[in-house]
């Protein structure tokens, strides 16, 4: 790799591409790109194993670190879900499991999957890897802070995992951690467990803020010449908007968490009213449990979109590349992402219709929640309209995308049930809710993650993943996951409440036993299928087909680094210059069915490019 590009700190205005623009001007230069306004970034290059791979400042390595650690926590979350399903489907085989264990597994599974797996993976993993490459930057703007961000995440995960080993075990308060029960005896892990959970979350938020500032400022300030905001790939738009949401939403979790820690340790009463327990009045009084719920969901609902928006963005890019067609309605897609992001701050109390808050809130939050369905539906239409008259490669990446569309539409529509306050009342706190949010923010984003892994693995490793193993992985995961969550909605219709260790012999749910067994079998299978991917990755790293440059014939910048995989600094001696949006696929008149973002108009002057 070239380590000396920093030596040629040319102010780009003087470089050859732009000189002609200032010329006599009889014919305006169609390749003109505004000159750079700032000097190039100085980067610290690691020289030892430690600085290159451990305390590394390269966003790509940090992205992979995030990815691996998030995957590790995800596997823990997966194993916990197996244990839960064992208890629900085959309680006679789960004799070792007490109700305490079960609630601890439920809690840790939920928190791990939402925060430490999905959020860390999308923003920390894909964000770090893709933002500099897709925007044409050499790295994140604050590489050192970026490194610290990952290590804060690492410490947060360690603290979380440590809670498995403290007296009383991890918290079993449910992932929503509602007080008063979260910090009172009667809930497992109400001592050390809950404190470690809250400390871990606080560390996560601090670390995440460091990363998030990087993502935002890099997108805003570090784009290469010609990369206007409306030429950004939708992946970047998704991650960027999700990061803004995270910056605004996580503080609510932070203060909620800190106050709950104070209630636990110092005996303050932010969320604790007068409480009678075992015949004695506790030394609390005057606090409001519902206040915590407002704080939690003010974070918790945008959190759903912190996971969803990057998935929306990434899947748009994958569909476009593999359907060989421009994403349909790019501007609408961008505005839909921004609108969903904005609206997501006005819907939080739809999680609280039956929480005991003033019921008149229901009118407002049902309306805002259903309004958000409009931009979301527009995104779905645009994905399928991108397929229309495309030239669709039915490869593994496309399969994951199609799986995403199907599961997302399914989960989105059940959201219309739960968002519409009246319909929510009978379904709230039942398995319908579990089925809904796993379909829409578990399975659907997971489909995108998997598609993205198959899509970008060649860039990260230089080798292709096996398509054959990939197809097995996809079909088992997709069909299995769908058969877990689709029937589960019907348990909710029966009225089976969530977070029940055991149903006993409730007269109207005895018929659900058979379904629970089936769901558990499917869950074991889907979990096991994920090891196909791990095997595929390990095998392909050694023996996979060499990818070469740009194996998918994509347009966006990350495929145009001088070396594959890209090295530190990404672009060798010269930053790329961008002349068009990343979706010029199958342009009439062009020789090939794609025109990379770096191709100047003069080279494709006889094509009928509509949008640049």
């Amino acid at each position: 790799m070239s380590e000396n590009y920093n030596d040629n700190k040319i102010i780009q205005a003087q470089s050859s591409e732009t000189v002609s623009a200032g010329g006599s001007g009889a014919t305006p230069d169609i390749d003109y790109v505004r000159p750079a306004e700032v000097l190039e970034q100085d980067l610290y290059h690691g020289h030892s194993f430690i600085t290159k791979w451990v305390f590394c400042q390269d966003a790509k390595v940090i992205g992979i670190q995030y990815f691996l650690l998030a995957t590790f926590t995800g596997i823990i979350g997966l194993i916990l879900s197996w244990l839960m399903r064992l208890q629900l489907g085959y309680p006679e085989l789960a004799g070792f499991m007490t109700a305490e264990h079960y609630y601890q597994f439920v809690t840790m599974h939920g928190m791990i999957m939402v925060v430490y797996f999905l959020t860390a993976l999308f923003l920390g993993g894909f964000g770090n890897y893709l933002i500099p490459l897709m925007t044409g930057a050499r790295d994140m703007v604050f590489p050192y802070v970026n490194m610290v961000s990952f290590w804060m995440f690492f410490v947060a995960v360690m603290v979380l995992m440590a809670s498995f080993f403290v007296p009383g075990g991890p918290t079993g308060a449910g992932w929503t951690l509602y007080p008063p029960q979260a910090i009172l005896e009667g809930t497992p892990g109400s001592g050390m467990g809950i404190i470690l959970m809250l400390v871990s979350l606080v560390l996560f938020v601090i670390g995440f803020t460091m990363g998030g500032l990087n993502y935002l400022i890099t997108v805003l300030q570090s784009r290469t010449r010609g990369m206007t905001l409306m030429r950004l790939p939708l992946s970047v738009w998704g991650i960027f908007t999700a990061t803004i949401l995270a910056m605004l939403a996580f503080p609510a979790l932070l203060v909620g968490g800190l106050m709950l820690v104070l209630d636990t340790i110092l005996g303050t009463s932010f969320f604790m009213p007068t409480i009678l327990k075992a015949g004695e009045v506790l030394e609390y009084g005057g606090g409001s449990p519902i206040l915590f719920q407002h704080l939690f969901w003010f974070f918790g609902h945008p959190e759903v979109y912190i996971v969803a928006l990057p998935a929306f963005g990434i899947v748009s890019d994958l569909i476009s590349v593999h359907a060989r067609k421009n994403i349909f309605g790019y501007r609408m897609m961008v505005w839909a992402i921004v609108a969903i992001g904005g609206l997501s701050f006005f819907v939080w109390a739809h999680h609280m219709y039956v929480s005991g808050m003033n019921p008149w809130f229901g009118f407002f939050f049902a309306s805002t929640t259903l309004i958000i369905a409009v931009p979301t539906a527009m995104k779905v239409y645009n994905w399928i309209l991108t397929l229309w008259r495309g030239n669709i490669r039915m490869n593994v990446v496309m399969l994951w995308c199609l799986g995403f569309i199907l599961t997302f539409v399914n989960g989105g529509i059940t959201g219309l049930f739960l968002g519409n306050v009246t319909v929510d009342v009978p379904l709230s706190d039942t398995y319908f809710v579990i089925a809904h949010f796993h379909m829409v923010m578990g399975i659907a984003p997971l489909m995108v993650i998997m598609g993205a892994v198959y899509h970008w693995f060649p860039l990260v490793s230089g080798r292709m993943l096996s398509e054959k193993l990939g197809k097995w992985h996809f079909w088992v995961t997709f069909l299995g996951a769908y058969s877990i969550y689709f029937p589960m909605h019907y348990l909710g219709f029966i009225g089976v409440p969530r977070r029940y260790f055991e149903m006993y012999d409730s007269p109207y749910v005895t018929s659900a036993v058979g379904m629970n067994e089936f769901i558990s079998m499917a869950a074991f299978l889907v979990g096991a299928a994920q090891f196909i991917l791990i095997y595929n990755i390990i095998k392909s790293l050694k023996t996979g087909k060499l990818a070469g440059k740009n194996p998918w014939k994509a347009n966006s910048l990350e495929w145009f680094t001088p070396t594959v995989p890209p090295e530190h600094g990404n672009w060798g001696n010269k930053l790329p210059i961008v002349y068009r949006w990343p979706y010029d696929y199958s342009v009439p008149g062009a020789k090939e069915d794609f025109i990379p973002q770096t191709t100047p108009p003069s080279k494709v002057s006889d094509t009928e490019v509509e949008k640049t």
Binding site: G329, A377, G390, P426, Y482, I494, Y508
Partner: protein
């Protein structure tokens, strides 16, 4: 096999599952049939959208699968189509939301003739209190709760003296008479939920929450706690007996009132003098 066929079978399977499922809602036993109607409406609108989108997608992957010599269409935007889709979606959303809000309006407005029932929850159990002949419940305080005053009724409150106390997880309701469930908790969140009545609401320590329904089928129903309340959550059950008016009144007469309890225990006294001064 073409992937599109499998996707088609998934959609078809979903429809068939919905039509033939033996798992569906438990027979309703309250006035909230309108909630079931909104579910059905949402199913129709949502189902049509789901099926249409998926079939369109499946058609595309059959019709436009990759051919070396073919080129995709190049059409970045279509303002007219996007506008039509936006308007159609907005109309669909309004069609779902409007009935929902109308029924919610009924849900938050309790009928005047509803009997108030104080449902008191703790880890892990329920007990109930009904107004006496005055039709009013006495006010309560958590700190007043003890063996002699199991509901924590404020002794100064004359409304509380004739309150009917039911120190049992089982409550009787009168058929076809609306009830306003007043929920309170002495420790953590709970939720008094009977699937057959459809409605539910959290009991929150520190405040009194409410909801209402009108049972319309005589029978026995299981009460489930629907808000996670610690390790005994799954075992926190109760039961409701819905009875005809005469049976209900007979049952009610057998129950003890607060003043009867006080008289029996002889441990606390009502502060009559204080009231007289007022």
């Amino acid at each position: 096999m073409h992937a599109g066929i499998i996707f088609f079978l998934v959609v078809l399977g979903s429809i068939l599952f919905h039509i033939f499922t033996p798992w569906y809602w438990t027979d309703i036993a309250s006035n909230w049939g309108s909630m079931d109607d909104t579910i059905t409406l949402t199913f129709w609108v949502g189902g049509v959208v789901f099926i249409t989108v998926c079939l369109f997608m499946i058609y595309c992957v059959f019709k436009f699968s990759y051919k070396e010599e073919r080129r995709a269409e190049y059409k970045p935007e279509d303002n007219k189509l996007e506008k039509i889709l936006t308007i159609a979606t907005t109309l669909g959303v309004i069609a779902l939301l409007a009935p929902g809000l109308i029924i919610w309006n009924q849900f938050v407005n309790v009928p005047k003739n509803a009997i108030e029932i104080d449902v008191m929850a703790w880890q892990w159990g329920w007990q109930y209190r009904l107004p006496g002949e005055d039709g009013k419940l006495g006010n309560t305080k958590v700190v007043n709760i003890n063996d002699n005053n199991p509901f924590g009724i404020i002794l100064d409150d004359p409304n509380g003296k004739d309150d009917v106390l039911i120190q049992s997880e089982e409550i009787n309701l009168q058929n076809n008479r609306p009830v306003k469930i007043l929920l309170r908790s002495v420790d953590v969140l709970h939720n008094w939920y009977v699937p057959q009545f459809r409605a539910k609401m959290d009991a929150v320590p520190g405040v009194v929450t409410f909801y209402w329904f009108e049972p319309n089928k005589v029978g026995e129903y299981e009460v489930l706690c629907a808000e996670y309340c610690g390790v005994g959550h799954y075992a926190m059950r109760g039961s409701v007996l819905v009875k005809d008016e005469q049976d209900y009144k007979n049952w009610l007469q057998e129950q003890e009132t607060f003043s009867e309890l006080v008289a029996k225990q002889k441990k606390i006294e009502f502060s009559e003098t204080k009231l007289a001064k007022k």
